[in-house]
């Protein structure tokens, strides 16, 4: 047994988190910053933070993750990190020459109270940041929220660069949230099918799924350009996908540039995608093209074709709030039973949304925000499930409890495909169904007695 010390009896814990279902803010800020074209993320803190964030992102994407650090020493921790950051700007622009540097704080620089915009101002005045270059500053204290909060804070910080000329540009801003590079591509494909002109920010497609060609581009071709980011202030509106990831940035755009916004669920599964497409249709005043209608029909078709394998199956689900909300709705919509649901990110709203989505289910549902995988495992021990949907850390539970596992979320450290094959939209829904079916049916084929073993399923 891998997790042999996990007892079945659930005892309330107040002070120790065991096997977390979240990590800290800065890694989310780093991921978001990689979605800006020509941007070097910079971690203002000890060098270990940056090393850890780069490592986990590298292991998830199997791509180079360049990011710099202020490399705090004991002295900097006492006297403040200004000198380190100013020196870092000078070195970064001399050696790597990025268009943009996106600085985020850490628990260290937050605790000592370093003021990033003030340091940026000083560096500009001293000529350490060259003319025409940009520096984004995001406050991302690790002791508040989670990696999702950090992503959200960095995206919100990007809005500082939005400009309004007073003339609308006819574009729609889409804030996709913390989804995979291929998900961002899929969002762009769907909007272009509808004939809408969009600005997607941040956009890691073309950055974290780059080709192998024998040439290393420290700043790959993808990412939202600063020109595009500026133009967000003149857009006709903003669609924010996911309250936790994208809501704050959209509201900042509304407040500062009067760009109206709608916050939608992330378009995972049938109904959330329906709402996304319908919103795009209304904003653009366009008809939904036949191509997309067919894709929707294909998803409904597969649900109906294989419904017997979904119906009534119990699921344990862990992940980030926006993803888990949409996934829970999808699972319920295909008559599965998500019975244990955990996110590590805090937020009572999460539990409320899950309660609403699962209200019609005829069984008890365990749900916890700011929960951990230790609790999820205990719930599973008390009431077993047919399938676990989780990031890679779920495999320890899956093996111990002999449950099939669908890897979905962050981080995925032991399988590939997440950066290439989207799970967003109707097509992504097909992929999710395929993954769940494979997991369930591989298990069935493994476990069925010879007499019951069947060719056609």
């Amino acid at each position: 047994m891998l997790l042999r010390h996990t007892p079945t009896a659930v005892a309330e814990r107040k002070s120790v988190t065991i096997n977390p279902a979240k990590t800290c803010q800065p890694v989310g800020a780093m991921y978001a910053a990689l979605g800006i074209h020509g941007c070097l993320p910079h971690s203002h803190g000890s060098q270990g933070c940056c090393a850890y964030h780069r490592s986990v992102l590298t292991r998830h994407y199997k791509e180079p993750i360049s990011a710099a650090t202020s490399s705090f020493t004991e002295g900097a921790s006492v006297f403040g990190g200004q000198a380190n950051l100013v020196q870092a700007f000078n070195n970064i622009f001399s050696v790597y020459d990025p268009e943009v540097v996106a600085v985020h704080t850490t628990c260290l620089s937050e605790t000592i109270g370093d003021d990033l915009p003030q340091i940026r101002k000083k560096a500009f005045e001293e000529g350490k940041i060259p003319e025409g270059k940009y520096v984004i500053c995001a406050s991302t204290p690790s002791y508040v929220g989670s990696h999702v909060t950090g992503f959200s804070n960095m995206v919100k910080a990007m809005v500082e660069f939005s400009e309004s000329t007073g003339k609308k540009n006819g574009k729609v801003n889409i804030i996709p949230g913390w989804v995979e590079p291929c998900d961002m591509e899929e969002i762009k494909r769907i909007t272009s099918l509808l004939g809408l002109s969009c600005i997607v920010f941040p956009d890691t497609s073309g950055v974290l799924n780059a080709p192998l060609t024998g040439e290393y581009k420290m700043f790959p071709d993808g990412g939202t350009t600063m020109e595009e980011l500026k133009a967000t202030g003149d857009a006709v509106g903003t669609l924010a996908l996911g309250e936790w990831c994208s809501g704050d940035a959209a509201r900042r755009l509304d407040k500062e540039h009067k760009v109206p916004c709608t916050v939608l669920d992330m378009p995972f599964g049938l109904q959330a995608t329906d709402r996304f497409v319908d919103a795009l249709r209304k904003i653009g005043g366009v008809h939904v093209p036949e191509e997309l209608v067919v894709e929707r029909g294909q998803l409904v078709d597969l649900i109906s074709d294989m419904h017997q394998y979904f119906y009534g199956k119990k699921i344990a689900l862990a992940g980030d709030p926006d993803q888990v909300i949409a996934m829970t709705e999808f699972l319920v919509s295909i008559d599965m039973k998500p019975v244990h649901i955990v996110t590590g990110t805090p937020g009572k709203k999460f539990e409320k949304r899950i309660r609403e989505i699962t209200a019609d289910m005829d069984c008890e549902v365990n749900v916890r925000a700011k929960g951990d995988l230790f609790l999820l495992h205990q719930w599973i021990k008390n009431e077993p499930v047919d399938l676990l949907i989780c990031n890679t850390y779920g495999k320890y539970i899956a093996r111990d409890e002999d449950i099939p596992l669908v890897r979905w979320g962050f981080p995925i450290l032991d399988r590939q495909g997440h950066q290439y094959f989207s799970t967003i939209g109707y097509r992504g829904g097909l992929r999710l169904l395929e993954k769940m079916l494979n997991a369930l049916l591989d298990r069935k084929d493994r476990d069925d007695p010879e007499t019951k073993f069947e060719l056609v399923l």
């Binding site: 065991i18 000890s46 490592s55 986990v56």
Partner: protein
């Protein structure tokens, strides 16, 4: 294909060095210049390199932090101690199962390595202090799992807000009675690299655990293996060989280790040091306090493994052991030789670069030389000058502000348990017979003339080096892996071995030969260009049929 364009060396090492630092601001260039050494013979003197100095802000370093060295490297591979990280969630999350330390629960059934424990500090804890939460977290863990020991690790904010983790540990140890609780002040901002964290971890293990168990450990030839972390199962292979030789490994510091191993370490009669950087001071302390001498060993490379085994056998001066070791070597070597014979024609004369660790960049050169490959450039991520130049420089090392912050424990001979395993005469005789004690020559001495030795190599320099020197293989860590491979050059992780291992010992050597053969001869490196990119000119319209 990397292997196809082995261009003849056109640049002098001096020119390469100049090119590496040409883009830096003057101050950075001056500093980096001292950390880049051209290996020249200087009248019996090793040229001097600057090492163990601060990382330059903004320069993309390979290094991690003190916490990573303490929790991740040293304490991570101990299976029956609960590692509780006091801080915001990230530090514990990132160090959760990411180092490929293999372990099993053992007969006692205790293994906490698959778990991640954190106090998950929130803003209120930062403002009002986290001691209460830490105390309660220890109690909750104890109530849930009853471990024999709980180790507490400080993260950056803990030091800043002044939580007294050592007092909390002492109080809880007293309260719980049957659970040893001790703490590590390993805040990430301390020191200049992971190395400081190794030191902090080892000091506390020495202070709180070593010598706690006097229950006799059986065995005729009892040793401790220091600085072996069981990445990819290295320690398992070394233990297999020890067992075959009849050598008892009392304690490994700290691959697949247990609390009891540390507690009993003072019963060994010899300390064999693998990773000089992370643990040489523990070997010194064990000698001063308990009278156990130490020798440097290396189980990376088949010849090095045989040599190390012979050294251990020579130390015990017992023909039974000496004969048995020879028998084991004779048994193990044929499979190794067979593997080399198979691989050598495909690996011979290829070139490698190694930038990793505090010993690995040296140790792995053994394996590459067995493959007929030349190491053209190497360096450490967090080593000190003695790891490059040899231990003779230790008295001359500068103590700067950063190293002064890392505690040095003053150790005296144990009143009852100090027992010199060899007297002065015996030591002298053994030295005369070639068994050198407390001796390490470092990496530089083993590298060829005109090779480049570079300390704390960064991303920019790595890319430049590959571009200028075109190695057939580059070795470093996960952060460096894909930027190098995007250049079309295979990259082997030597921290965590990608998904491979073990590479130690005899079986490990065979694994490594095969892995390197796979990497440098993979067909994938020939696919960088599509046919239409190789021949872009259209000479005529395509004629069907």
């Amino acid at each position: 294909m990397a292997t196809a364009n082995v261009t003849t060396k056109t640049m002098e090492p001096g020119d390469i060095k100049a090119e590496l630092i040409s883009k830096y601001p003057p101050k950075v260039a001056r500093k980096r210049s001292k950390q880049i050494l051209i290996n020249e013979a200087l009248e019996n003197q090793t040229p001097e390199i600057t090492a163990n100095v601060r990382t330059i802000p903004g320069i993309i370093t390979m290094r991690g932090c003190t916490y990573a060295g303490c929790k991740g490297v040293i304490m991570g591979p101990t299976r029956d101690i609960v590692n509780l990280v006091h801080g915001p969630i990230g530090c514990s999350f990132y160090a959760w199962l990411t180092r490929r330390n293999q372990t099993g629960a053992g007969p006692d059934g205790e293994n906490y390595m698959n778990y991640c424990f954190s106090t998950d500090m929130q803003d209120a804890d930062i403002i009002f202090g986290g001691e209460k939460k830490l105390t309660q977290a220890i109690q909750e863990i104890y109530d849930l799992m009853h471990p024999k020991a709980i180790a507490i690790f400080a993260t950056c904010p803990v030091g800043l807000i002044g939580d007294d983790i050592h007092t909390v540990a002492r109080n809880m140890k007293e309260k719980l009675g049957d659970c040893n609780v001790f703490a590590f002040s390993c805040e990430g901002y301390k020191g200049v690299s992971q190395s400081a964290g190794h030191h902090i971890a080892n000091n506390q293990i020495f202070r709180h655990v070593v010598g706690e168990n006097d229950e006799p450990k059986e065995g005729t030839y009892k040793i401790n293996l220091l600085g072996e972390y069981n990445i990819g199962g290295d320690g398992f292979e070394i233990d297999r060989i020890f067992k075959k030789c009849g050598i008892t490994n009392v304690a490994t510091f700290s691959g697949n280790s247990t609390y009891d191993q540390f507690a009993s370490a003072h019963q060994a009669d010899l300390n064999a040091v693998m990773c000089h950087r992370s643990i040489n001071y523990v070997a010194d302390m064990l000698e001063t306090k308990f009278g156990i001498p130490w020798i440097k060993v290396n189980f990376i490379g088949a010849a090095a493994t045989a040599k190390s085994l012979r050294k251990i056998a020579a130390y015990f001066e017992d023909t039974t052991l000496i004969d048995r070791v020879e028998k084991v070597i004779a048994e193990e070597m044929p499979q190794v030789e067979k593997a080399i014979e198979d691989v050598l024609p495909r690996t011979k004369d290829k070139t490698a670069m190694l930038f990793v660790g505090g010993s690995r960049a040296h140790h792995y050169q053994e394996l590459f030389s067995e493959l007929g490959m030349k190491t053209i450039s190497a360096g450490y991520e967090f080593a000190h000058r003695d790891d490059y130049e040899g231990r003779q420089v230790i008295p001359y090392l500068k103590v700067d502000a950063d190293s002064r912050n890392i505690e040095e424990i003053e150790v005296e001979a144990d009143e009852t348990r100090y027992r010199p395993r060899k007297n002065g005469e015996e030591i002298e005789a053994l030295e005369g017979a070639g068994v050198q004690f407390k001796h390490y020559d470092g990496l530089v001495a083993d590298m060829e003339k005109d090779t480049l030795v570079i300390d704390d190599l960064n991303q920019y320099e790595a890319e430049k080096l590959v571009e200028l020197m075109k190695p057939d293989l580059f070795c470093a860590g996960i952060k460096e892996k894909y930027s190098i491979q995007k250049l079309g050059v295979p990259m082997k992780q030597l921290h965590s071995y990608d998904s491979g291992g073990p590479y130690a010992g005899f079986k490990g050597a065979v694994n490594f030969y095969q892995e390197i053969d796979r990497l440098v001869n993979s067909r994938v490196w020939s696919y960088m260009k599509a046919p239409w990119q190789e021949n872009p000119q259209l000479s005529a319209a395509y004629a069907w049929g």
